[in-house]
Symmetry: C2
Subunit: 230 residues, 2 copies
DNA sequence: CATTGTGAACAGTTTCACAGCC
DNA sequence: GGCTGTGAAACTGTTCACAATG
């Protein structure tokens, strides 16, 4: 699925130059925007052109009122008595999220997780392109993964800067996460996706999203041990 | 780091039989609990025995008041004028999160991401043990990854049931996520960690946590394009 | 006397109900 | 008639200020 999967329907409006400043969304709304986008892209691929807040809410487990409030946050997109035009909403959501354009990625840390991320096809389909990959170990440098040659981290700053890469992905052991983050910041990235279980300190104009895998399992075990029913 | 890293200090209190019902925590609090736990474990490993809400808040980027309110949610753990005893709080957080015991995992989908997860050492250190792994492709079955033999999904239900596995991890393409979820439910798992970009429908007594990787990049791009500064 | 625990004020989020429009 | 957009109400989570206390 995701952006790449087309079938009966015509392709979605081509990504335009993306650059307009969009208003910051509340965290809770942003999380649901990803859900909406995913589902609407699937509907579009199936040739569906229109959907109501009720239908959309039912398949995603949300109330119709919430769907309407959420979508309304990026402007009045719906038609009363009719519903929402799928194509229109997909475009508006992409603009709000920032995926109405493509992005280039630098990976640091070519371990098990790092290599899996580079090979993960879903990223490309969503418009995210790995453009340079780095590791500290000399024996990994020169090897090629999915068409990209692993470079030594010593080359990170000049390479990332030269290629204008905007997003760095950290997949190194926790002790090395902070120094790597500082290299990425020095190289001028605008955002960092951090898979290491470590709290990064970066300047306020660099955005960080943490995706520590252990954290998801902890969420799950809490839900399990705190369940009322069973 | 995580639970396994010991150094100067004595090991933390051994996991006890875990089974008491704990009160459900608000999502936001639970997220911060993982942060606190990580940081407190690191402090313990460095031999620190006591910490104030101010120090803890500073290193994690939170206000002291928030730290106190959060920790107080599992009972009065601190000593006025002194601070919090690291060891005591680690124990209380683990009980609240559910990681005061070990858990067994079943992986479904031995692609790039799936194999990386199985080999990810951090899970074991946190008390999460892969116990069975499955794939649909016959050519993968019989191969062994990190000491575990890949079984065919047809054997999922009896195997997971026989081994009493409580958590299933889905790392298959999105179209197959729902059928796999249904197998895991039939096999009696209590929770599912879902890496596929698909909204799963499961009975209310089965917990689901979604960890779609594309979603994190979308969060990041929104933060970048909606930045006030720069 | 430094530091927690906590009620009360504040901010953010979700739900509700219905007016407005196609 | 069906469905969106939206103010107001209800709820949840965060910040503040200070009394309580080891």
């Amino acid at each position: 699925m995701a952006a790449g999967a087309s079938s009966t329907a015509s392709p979605l409006p081509a990504p335009r130059g993306g650059g307009a400043v969009v208003p910051r969304l509340p965290r809770a709304v942003l999380e649901r925007f990803s859900l909406y986008l995913r589902e609407l892209e699937a509907l579009h691929a199936r040739g569906v052109t229109t959907v109501s807040s009720q239908e959309l809410g039912r398949t995603l487990g949300l109330t119709p009122a919430q769907v309407r409030k959420d979508l309304n946050a990026v402007g009045p997109l719906g038609a009363r008595g009719v519903g929402y035009r799928v194509e229109l909403v997909v475009g508006a959501l992409r603009r709000a999220i920032g995926t109405d354009r493509t992005w280039t990625l630098a990976l640091v840390g070519v371990g098990h997780l790092g290599s899996a991320l580079v090979r993960h096809a879903g990223f490309r389909e969503q418009g995210f392109y790995f453009t340079a990959i780095f590791d500290r170990l000399p024996e990994l440098c020169g090897r090629s993964i999915d068409g990209l040659v692993v470079q030594h981290v010593d080359e990170l700053v000049p390479t990332v800067r030269r290629l204008g890469i905007e997003i760095g992905i950290i997949a190194v052991p926790p002790e090395q996460a902070q120094p790597v983050a500082e290299l990425l910041v020095a190289a001028g990235v605008k955002g960092i996706l951090n898979f290491a279980p470590a709290a990064l300190e970066v300047p306020p104009d660099v955005q960080v999203v943490n995706a520590d895998l252990g954290f998801f399992l902890e969420q799950l075990t809490h839900h399990i041990v705190s369940m009322p029913r069973r």
